[in-house]
Symmetry: D2
Subunit: 304 residues, 4 copies
């Protein structure tokens, strides 16, 4: 160990035998909210980061990858996305990407933790880019499960942007078959949902494949895909699900045309080619999805 200039390290525990370390430049905020441990940290090469319960949610350097990968495939595949629901997504960056779609007329964001949103609003202005002030946006601070069960509004696209469903966190009941069934009811006929679904690292595929199995028990079309978000320390997985539309059937040209016509400004991560290519999964991931039997249910959470 040669003396480092920086002596402050952020350790993200990735599993019982794995972790990722970031140098800390500054700790901007740290508090136990009623729902989770909330921190905003300035991390070495990645810049400002939102951290919830010790897990890096997104960083200034690569949040564009995560949020473009999460939002655009589903919205681009929809023929005419007007009403969008964002579940979670406290940074406001998911909302920001949703609102870049010119067709969107209404975007409701439901996040349980008002403090997360307020802190992100003030400390991470480039993450939301003013999205919270867009007149098309409505912010709701409520448990999303409760909210969606109580509101029968239908949406064209529902983006679920949550932490992984660890038991202690606030998100566990937002990954179950019962929840997805309500989501299915709230989705218009040609609607799609999209969600982050945990790592796709070869030794840690349970979450990704169980989410896939659970979605497949509710939706006829489930499309898993991956993206590299370097700050996570492991390769990452996403999934869309829908009743009719399969985003894997669109060509590069389809995606390019829709990107050009529908999205304001320039994308930084996605291209038409990447939109079309990203569905090609590694063979071992396909194999794991094919043999997964685990369903996530309200009374059978993934981790107990």
């Amino acid at each position: 160990m040669v003396a480092p200039k920086n002596c402050k390290w952020f350790l993200e525990v990735l599993g019982p035998d794995e972790g990722h370390l970031h140098g800390i430049k500054a700790v901007l905020f740290s508090k136990e909210t009623p729902f989770q441990h909330l921190e905003v940290v300035d991390l070495g090469d990645y810049g400002r980061a939102l951290v919830l319960d010790g897990k890096v949610q997104s960083t200034a350097a690569d949040e564009f990858i995560y949020h473009e990968a999460l939002v655009h495939p589903a919205l681009l595949a929809h023929p005419d996305p007007r009403r969008v629901l964002v579940i979670g997504g406290g940074e406001g960056a998911t909302l920001r990407e949703v609102l870049r779609h010119r067709m969107v007329t209404r975007a409701v964001m439901v996040d349980i933790d008002r403090e997360v949103v307020e802190i992100c609003r003030s400390l991470l202005p480039e993450f939301h880019g003013g999205a919270f002030d867009d007149p098309r946006a409505e912010l709701v601070f409520e448990d999303a499960r409760q909210w969606i069960e109580a509101h029968d509004e239908r949406f064209d696209v529902i983006i679920i942007d949550l932490s992984d469903p660890i038991e202690e966190g606030p998100c566990y009941r937002l990954y179950t078959r019962e929840f997805y069934r309500v989501v299915h009811q709230r989705l218009s006929g040609d609607g799609l949902i999209a969600l982050q679904a945990g790592t796709v690292a070869v030794h840690d595929l349970l979450n990704f494949s169980a989410v896939h199995r659970t979605l497949s028990s509710v939706f006829p079309i489930v499309c898993p895909y991956t993206a590299n978000v370097p700050c996570f320390g492991l390769p990452w997985g996403f999934q869309t699900a829908s009743k009719q539309v399969d985003p894997r059937t669109f060509s590069v040209a389809d995606y390019e045309e829709r990107i050009g016509r529908r999205i304001a400004g320039e994308l930084k991560y996605l291209t038409g080619a990447l939109c079309a290519a990203q569905w090609a999964l590694p063979k071992h991931v396909q194999a794991r999805l094919a043999r997964e039997t685990r369903l996530i249910e309200d009374d059978a959470p993934l981790y107990t």
Copy 2:
């Protein structure tokens, strides 16, 4: 910090402000060879791993991803790959994947460090899978730059499987324009080369883009692509280069047909679809490649 069951940790330094941690189950070998620090370590979820100069080269759990991604795209794109040169690749897993191609009649592997190869042979039998004993294989322990300059044999495919070109390591002169020019001379007219080219993490693209720029100054066709090798802790980049053949022009069906006909046994990572899809790069990576001006030369190494 709750008491972990394992107290022994492998820390891979990824940069001045970033690291990746693995639990250590056992240290099987550790020695300073004349060329580098050589270790074989049993790592938590990843199993046995080859470590050179503190960098994880490959692990039992995910070496198949790295080696399939490195070897097959170039060999599949070649019309009739018979003679293959492997530079580096001490584990023998690159050689193993090369020899799965039924058309290959001769595979020369040149690695400077006999001790690495001998230790891998005895401690990592599943990495080489007996490849060192294949009658088509020839092993040479010599500096690859010296060897290739001294031998005018021509090859259909040349796989360069080396550590990143840090100054102190043995590999620096195997990443320069001068070296690639000799490689170009040793390549048959429809030949291709393939190499690992470092991380493609958004904050650390210099190596990947400088290698791309340097290759492009020698070869008319350079095809960068990426693969997720989780043990590396960051997303990873590869590149092929050639005089005539462009692997991006092959269809899914082309790749599937060639995989089925040419390769013995089942692939675990690659599919025809992934072979065709993997060339779609993130837009920000493309942008960085497009504006990179840095050339790696014998008297202008990347890191000084």
Copy 3:
């Protein structure tokens, strides 16, 4: 983080917010015995170390400090120590120091874990220095609580050389008032006991003071003292207890005379002056001992 030559680290968790790191040169042994996790590790500057349940027990570089500090004050204070019982002490170094006392005619060592002793015997020869083969020594592999309750042999000195009484470990019932009462019965009238009693770091005095309170409920004379064992990462505490003899009443000259006459060979850590001086505790430690009310009992362990 500048690239360290060594990438393998031993992390000893000292508390929820504190740890100590050692570079690992080699892992010589690692196994889950029926009683604990047993490891022999070669640690950077400290050399070979015995590690039980992730806690460094002693290292080649500084075990002489720990074992001299543990053994000699009690034996030197006794007028004529002939029969000595060692409880725990798997390395054999406590036994080694006991047997350096020329007056000792019988030393029984009771350790629950035969594998620990066997591994120390073969991998840590300088720790035991042949003590296991001394004709005065008897080795018993049995639970010490059970053994001492079942055997009514009386001893002049009883050395208790155990890990701290964490719940999961094998040692918890060897730190309770009930146990000390049996120890009291097995001790000759002018006998003394000595034990390691955890850290004396200012923020972590509970174990040291609760042991002191518990001993004081059984023995009329309890003498706490400290020693610096650097590998532990925190300052360390010891205690003697007795029915009649108070080692704090001996002068420097007394200790020097007894060291010279009774102990074979040269001490490396203790001097007569240090024997006499070591009882002077920091004022804040005294204050904590004075106000501690916590008793450790069979049905009221320290940590639950």
Copy 4:
């Protein structure tokens, strides 16, 4: 690794193969001053801490141990300490302890780094306890070597409270024989100096013994002693030096009487007994001091 509540860690590098970890609660200040890297961090169990160049200088939990051990032995041994010079000591806690001596009429503190003092003044109020505002105190922001060479004022006690003399730091020329000769000239006939002198860990005694050798080449009486400051992660060493007075000759009663008469308020660490006992060094430390030949000189620094 089980998920820790805190993910932010302060890593103090203690040597090439050793480190100490503290959980970080908050980072209150972090800046590169013209002289060093300055941080105030709230550390897990230790509370607020001053950190210079990555080294913990003192913490709320145990700074009383360090500062009482550094200041009082020398002042108590002096027959009538009126004028005191403090070199370094940015926290103000050394000054605070000096000013508790009722006899002191003038205390000059010379620290090169105004920013350290200002930050400590505002963020560490319990460390200085108002000492900077004491009318007897004079603060000088200047290189202490330069200041002492330029001022021929004589002092009864000189306390040198600096970081270890690593080459890059500002302190190296304040540990040399040339500097101690000037200090000797500025000391009254019955004066004493006191200084912290690095760790006394068995594997890392060079600094402590070279300082001792260097002091002994200038002063006839040099008295090394130790104290446990847990936050340092290793046992710590101090030394006094003088022309005539030997603090080792005072009895427990002498120290108790002087503590009671001279010092305002209650001590928290030192007692008369500890003052008298602390000079008893481990035998191996004595042996190392006896055989040390290394002199620290302006043109022969300890680390190059």
